[in-house]
């Protein structure tokens, strides 16, 4: 790194503020990003990282403050402004057309740069070679893995001439081995003079790859540190502003009573391709079974088959000794299946309905919400009040619409609702995704209490620490199969990661 590069920072943000109705997303943000470094921006969910990056990428305009890029003050009113001055962004959710080739995806919207033919193809090859991306311009994106798709996204940004690249939680979708490969790419980019802004809340990764770290809490910058000066715990405490909770199970409560038993379960998609193969497991009363896996390997399908939204091609599901394989979703839920869905907005709530009506959802046939064929609003309202206070749902009242609550409070409400009516099985899909640390600790507490109360709990999560901390047993799902079983007392995230990619041998060579 040369002296004069350091002299002019790549990006200087001064006093950035952004308000949304009812929310101060950012205020008094001050960040200096040195040219040619990897700068990590850390903070818990909802701290304001994404808003800040959207401001920097021109998606949103700040209400106050100034942005300077390479020493020049700029005003960005659209992403094309940002691209024009060399700022590019790689979003967490890929924006790629599956049925297009790498080349077509890259040139889409940037046809002016080098056309759509061989010029563009050569340029893409060149970039891919320069940074070790190992991408063929003529491969179809649908044939690529997650890591490769992410490299396509980065390539898109480089192709448009970006020197400053923002990566929004790039590792969220990757397994540990892919993360290592990504970091190699990032270091390569840095060595060639690019500046990288890396948003994350995974602290180990941040500490291993970043040159500088800025911590954001409650919408503002609270600290700028060097990775050498802090450890993960200190960084986490800077993030949450208090001492960290951690998921940890107290002594075993596993009994020998099997509550959920899944035998030789298979599921096919509409075209007859297998989505779940030979799934076999049992969960006992008082046991938490964790399912680890890279997203899209059959977790969603497994949950939907157990809950009855999808119908298995073969196999048997037993709940408390009764075969439920052919039962409707409603009948299964009536028997005592609590369900915390992975996407609470789509599957767990009626966003524009008041909380007390949401109390009825999923419990339409059970007291206290109904009396015979009729609804029982007083009963539902009273019980909503109980959930709100017992589960610490922060809301002005039970007639507030679900949409108005924050993610954490919505989730606490769902957990409270699903723990009502004496469930015997709790299915929790990514229960703490997108919730703040406070709510996360509360939800962990509730899941542990469910276990203590003798429920069988099926926990699906992408957060390996959560899985290891809460589960009594961990099984790994890969391409619709359960491929490995681990004891969380002894397993490491690395071992889980290897099993999740099916790359045990390769990872052992590496480590």
């Amino acid at each position: 790194m040369t002296k004069d590069l350091q002299a002019v920072p790549a990006i200087e943000l001064r006093g950035i503020g952004k308000r949304f109705p009812g929310v101060i997303a950012n205020h008094d943000i001050d960040i200096t990003i040195t040219s040619g470094t990897i700068h990590a921006l850390v903070g818990e969910n909802g701290a304001g990282k994404s808003t800040l990056m959207k401001i920097l990428y021109g998606v949103q305009k700040p209400d106050s403050g100034t942005i300077a890029v390479n020493g020049h003050q700029v005003s960005l009113s659209s992403p094309s402004d940002a691209i024009a001055i060399g700022v590019g962004m790689v979003f967490q959710h890929f924006m790629l057309a599956d049925n297009f080739t790498v080349l077509e995806n890259v040139v889409l919207g940037a046809e002016k740069i080098a056309g759509i033919g061989d010029d563009a193809r050569n340029r893409i090859r060149q970039i891919s070679d320069d940074y070790g991306f190992d991408l063929d311009p003529d491969d179809l994106v649908e044939d690529l893995g997650v890591g490769e798709r992410q490299r396509v996204e980065i390539l898109k940004v480089l192709y448009r001439g970006a020197k400053i690249i923002i990566l929004d939680e790039p590792t969220a979708v990757l397994v540990p081995q892919e993360v290592d490969a990504l970091f190699d790419n990032l270091r390569e980019l840095k060595d060639q003079g690019h500046t990288l802004i890396f948003i994350s809340h995974k602290l180990d990764e941040v500490l291993s790859v970043a040159d500088d770290i800025t911590v954001i809490r409650k919408g503002t910058t609270v600290a700028s540190v060097k990775p050498a000066e802090v450890n993960a715990r200190q960084l986490a405490e800077l993030m949450v502003g208090s001492v960290l909770p951690s998921p940890s199970t107290e002594g075993s409560t596993v009994t020998d009573k099997v509550l959920l038993e899944v035998i030789d379960l298979e599921l096919d998609d509409a075209t007859g391709r297998p989505e779940l193969v030979d799934i076999d497991f049992a969960i006992h009363a008082g046991e938490i079974l964790g399912i680890a896996g890279v997203e899209g390997n059959g977790q969603t399908e497994l949950v939907e088959t157990i809950i009855g939204m999808r119908r298995q091609a073969r196999g048997t599901i037993m709940l408390a000794g009764e075969e439920i394989s052919e039962w409707s979703t409603r009948r299964r839920r009536e028997t005592g299946v609590g369900y915390i869905p992975e996407d609470r907005h789509r599957h767990g709530l009626l966003l524009d309905a008041p909380l007390w009506e949401n109390r009825i959802l999923g419990h339409q046939t059970r007291p206290p919400s109904v009396k015979g064929p009729f609804l029982n609003p007083p009963g539902a309202k009273a019980d909503t009040g109980r959930i709100v206070s017992a589960y610490d749902v922060r809301t002005p009242g039970i007639t507030t619409t679900a949409r108005a609550l924050s993610g954490g409070n919505q989730q606490k409400f769902i957990v409270g609702r699903e723990m009502s009516s004496d469930p015997i099985l709790l299915i929790a899909s990514h229960p703490t995704r997108g919730v703040d640390v406070g709510a996360q600790a509360a939800i962990w507490g509730h899941i542990k209490r469910a276990r203590k109360a003798g429920l069988a709990v099926l926990l699906i999560s992408a957060d390996l620490d959560e899985l290891i901390g809460l589960s009594d047993t961990i099984k790994v799902i890969l391409r619709g199969k359960l491929v490995a079983t681990f004891d969380p007392q002894s397993v490491t995230p690395q071992q889980l990661g290897s099993a999740m990619t099916g790359a045990d041998a390769i990872s052992e060579e590496r480590s």
């Binding site: 009812g22 524009d352 309905a353 009825i360 339409q364 609804l375």
Partner: protein, 368 residues
């Protein structure tokens, strides 16, 4: 959100939309050089007693039509086929009543059931196609409208009677005729007896949607199909059932007038009410009370339109246009209001929680 806002905002939206439509109609009239003052004078003339009776009857009929459409809308089903359903139902009910199989009013009751059954079955075809083959109910109901029209013509030619140039079903026996509620001493007829079906349907609709499990499932499926499915609602079943219900109510549309006035199915049977019902349902936000309001406005405007040509020399088409603008502006106004209300509510939640949080911090400070 306060109760006042919950009720006040929608009313404000409707008033604004009406005012806006009036302004647009005025501008159009100014542009075409028509008699603006005359237009407004006619529109705001208190209707004669005779016209009031017509307005009341039309309100009842449009209410049934609006309710039929609204039941589908609640479930995100666009039953465009109310038109075909009620015409076919009218034909079968008229033909059935004409047989006189049952004595007097029992015959009427049975004919009403026939109308509901035929309407339900015709709509049910679209429902079954949707869940069985994934055919959009919009397409299938539009096609079923066309088929219903041809089928009616065919059946009338085959089994109907001729009166002059027109083909009708047989006249029903006189003891099956229903009369009128006399509203004004000087007007010989009044509200159709069977217009009472409208409030009955309204009350049943209200209880069904807001106070039963079925209604909750219906609303849940309409608001978020994915959430409804996870909660155990069988969406396929809901689609078929709500199409059947929608069609059954549609079947009633032609009944009040047929039994009180025409006493047979034929050329006097008013068509086009099914399409108006869609507008009425939109105007009434698919709410049982709102639909009543929407039906009243449409009935009133429709009646006044008849006078426009005579009294002000303005084409009554301007009223059709105004009705269209009202529907559009109400839809827009409600969307604006919905967003506004969400924003206000989110702000309230945020303010309240901020206050709480500060309280928490203060507490912590004190204990430390």
């Amino acid at each position: 959100m306060s109760r006042w806002m919950r009720l006040g905002l929608p009313v404000a939206a409707v008033v604004l939309a009406l005012v806006f439509s009036g302004v647009v109609a005025t501008l159009v009239l100014l542009f075409t050089g028509d008699d603006v003052v005359g237009f407004w004078r006619v529109l705001f003339t208190w209707p004669s007693e005779r016209d009031l009776v017509d307005i009341i009857n039309m309100t009842a009929i449009l209410y049934l039509s609006g309710a039929a459409a609204a039941i589908g809308f609640r479930m995100n089903l666009f039953n465009i086929g109310v038109e075909g359903q009620y015409r076919l139902a009218g034909l079968f009910a008229g033909a059935f009543a004409a047989q006189g199989l049952l004595p007097g009013k029992l015959n009427v009751a049975a004919a009403i059931l026939v109308a509901m059954a035929v309407g339900a079955l015709w709509a049910g075809i679209a429902g079954v196609l949707r869940v069985w083959r994934g055919v959009s109910e919009v397409i299938s109901t539009i096609m079923l409208n066309a088929i219903a029209g041809s089928l009616i013509g065919f059946l009338l030619v085959k089994w109907g009677e001729s009166t002059g140039n027109a083909r009708n079903t047989k006249m029903m026996p006189e003891d099956s005729w229903t009369g009128f509620f006399r509203l004004f001493p000087d007007v010989s007829d009044g509200a159709y007896h069977l217009s009472l079906l409208a409030p009955l349907v309204g009350i049943a609709f209200f209880i069904l949607v807001y106070y039963t499990r079925f209604g909750f499932d219906l609303r849940a499926a309409g608001a978020s199909e994915s959430a409804a499915v996870s909660s155990g609602v069988s969406v396929k079943k809901m689609i078929v059932v709500s199409m059947l219900l929608s069609g059954a109510v549609a079947g009633l549309i032609g009944v009040p007038m047929m039994f009180s006035e025409a006493h047979q199915y034929g050329s006097a049977f008013q068509t086009g009410l099914g399409f108006t019902g869609i507008a009425v349902a939109l105007l009434g936000r698919n709410h049982p009370m709102g639909i009543a309001f929407g039906a009243l406005i449409f009935a009133f405007l429709g009646q006044q339109a008849n006078l426009l040509n005579i009294l002000a020399g303005v084409s009554p088409d301007i009223v059709n246009m105004t009705q269209g603008i009202i529907v559009l502006s109400v839809v827009i106004a409600f969307e604006v209001i919905r967003r506004l209300a969400t924003r206000i509510e989110q702000r309230q939640v945020a303010t309240q929680l901020d206050a709480e949080r500060q309280g928490d911090t203060a507490l912590k400070g004190a204990s430390a």
